[in-house]
Amino acid sequence: MSKIAVSTTVNGDPAEFLCDAGESLLDALRGSLGLTGSKEGCGSGDCGACTVMLNGQMVCSCLVLAVEAEGKSIATIEGVAEGSVLHPVQRQFLEHGALQCGFCTPGFIVAAKALLEVNPDPDETEIRYWLAGNLCRCTGYDKIVRAVSAAAAELRQERSAA
C-alpha cells in the first residue's frame, strides 16, 4: 500500500505529509506533523478533544480523513496563540481555573474560539449547547462557561476599542 502525499496549510504555514488512504487527520497531525496538542479521547467524534478548524469550520479531526486535507486550511490548538501572546479564550481559561487535568482543554479552546467568531455575545445556554460536543470530566463545566463568557466580553471590548 503506497502512501499518499498531501499538501495542506496548518496554522497558516504550508505543510506536507504522507498518509494512508484510511488514516485520520488526527493521526496525521499527531504522528506525521508532531502536533500532539489535539488529543484523542474516543476516536469516534463523541468527546471533541481532537477539535480543529478545517477551512474555517470546527470538526473532529478523528472524523476527517487525512487525505481530505489536500489543498485545505487547518487550524489547531498550536496556532491559537499569536506567538507568545495568548488568545483571550486561553487567558480566561487560566484566569478562571477552567482546567484541571487539561486534556480536554485544547478542544474546548478551539471550539470556544470558533463560537466567539460567529457569536460575539453568547448567553450561557448558547455556550453550553455549542460546547456540548466537548467532554470535560474534571470541571463540571462551570468554570469553562465562565471563562468563555469572560473571553467574549474581552473580545467585544477589544473590537469596540478598535
Partner: protein
C-alpha cells in the same frame, strides 16, 4: 484500516465510474458514520469515493418553492439558507440535532439516510416532508421517496454502484409547516430513543387539510404512519384528534428493547412526541412560532 485508495471525483459520472470499478468501494460524504465504522472494523472498503467535490453536492438550491439539497451538504450548512429554514424548519432542526456542532459541520442528510440507522434524526423529518432523493448509478438516474431508501438497519435499497446525489423537497402550500422532536436521555450528543416528524397544512380556518407523520427508532427503519396523518386531517388538532393520532402512532410501532430504551418506553414516547411535534408544526403553520 485496509482501505487502499481515495478518490475525489469532480463529476457524478466520474463517481459512477469509480464505484462501478470497485464493488467494495464506499461513498464518503461527511464521514461521521463511515470513518467510525472503518476504525471499529465494521466497514472495510477497499477504496473510498469522496463525493464532496462534485459540483452542487454541497449546495442548497431553491427554485419556484422547491428545494434541492446536495447530498453532501453538511447539516450546519442548511442553517445558512434562510428560505429553506422558513419553508422546512422541521427538516433543518432534525438535521441539526445530530451529534455536536463539530459533527454537524461534516455530517450530511445524504449520509444520515444511507447509513440506514432506524434512529437517524433527519430521516423521519424528510419522510414527513414527503422528500425524495435523486439516485445516480450505472443504469442512470431515478427519483425515489426517502422512505424507500432504508430497508433494514444498515441496509439500503440502493443497487451496486448507486449513490444518493440530491435530496428534493416539494413546493409548500400556504399555511404549511413541519417539526421534528426526539427523545434522548441527555440534551445533546445522543442517538434518538424515539424520533417523530410531522408535516401538515392548515386551511384558513385552521383545519388540517394534509398531514404526514413519520417515526424513527421504533421499527427496523424509519416509518411513515398514514393512519396517524389521517387522524389529524379534517380536525383543528383538538385533544381527541391528537389522541387518535397518538394511538395510530403507537399501533404502528414495532420497537426493540436495547441499551437505549425499552420497547414499551419507545412505544409510549412515540405517541407523546408525535403529539408535541404536531402542535409545534401547527403553531408554525399558523405563523405563531
Amino acid at each position: 484500516m485496509t482501505v487502499q485508495t481515495y478518490h475525489a471525483p469532480r463529476t457524478r459520472e466520474e463517481a459512477v465510474a469509480l464505484l462501478a470499478a470497485d464493488p467494495a468501494a464506499r461513498v464518503l460524504s461527511g464521514g461521521t458514520d463511515l470513518i467510525v465504522q472503518m476504525r471499529a472494523g465494521r466497514a472495510a472498503p477497499s477504496s473510498i469515493v469522496d463525493i464532496k467535490n462534485i459540483s452542487a453536492m454541497q449546495a442548497v438550491l431553491g427554485n419556484d418553492g422547491r428545494y434541492t439539497i446536495g447530498a453532501a451538504m453538511p447539516c450546519t450548512g442548511l442553517l445558512r439558507d434562510e428560505g429553506l429554514c422558513k419553508a422546512w424548519p422541521g427538516v433543518v432542526e432534525a438535521a441539526n440535532l445530530i451529534g455536536s456542532v463539530q459533527v454537524r459541520n461534516r455530517a450530511t442528510m445524504g449520509g444520515n439516510l444511507c447509513n440506514a440507522s432506524p434512529a437517524a434524526d433527519s430521516v423521519p423529518a424528510l419522510i414527513a416532508a414527503g422528500a425524495t432523493v435523486l439516485v445516480v448509478g450505472p443504469a442512470g438516474m431515478r427519483e425515489v421517496p426517502v422512505e424507500d431508501i432504508p430497508v433494514s438497519p444498515g441496509k439500503t435499497s440502493l443497487a451496486a454502484g448507486e449513490f444518493v446525489a440530491e435530496i428534493r423537497l416539494p413546493v409548500r402550500p400556504p399555511r404549511s409547516a413541519d417539526a421534528y422532536l426526539r427523545s434522548i436521555p441527555r440534551t445533546e450528543m445522543d442517538i434518538a430513543v424515539v424520533g417523530a416528524g410531522v408535516s401538515l397544512t392548515l386551511d384558513e380556518a385552521g383545519t388540517c387539510t394534509a398531514a404526514r407523520v413519520a417515526l424513527g427508532a421504533v421499527a427496523p427503519t424509519a416509518i411513515v404512519v398514514p393512519e396517524a396523518g389521517a387522524a389529524l386531517v379534517g380536525t383543528k388538532l383538538d385533544d381527541a384528534a391528537l389522541d387518535a393520532m397518538a394511538a395510530a402512532v403507537r399501533a404502528a410501532c414495532r420497537p426493540i428493547d436495547d441499551k437505549r430504551g425499552t420497547a414499551e418506553y419507545r412505544t409510549a414516547m412515540a405517541g407523546v412526541l408525535a403529539k408535541r411535534t404536531a402542535l409545534i408544526a401547527a403553531a408554525r403553520a399558523r405563523g405563531e412560532a
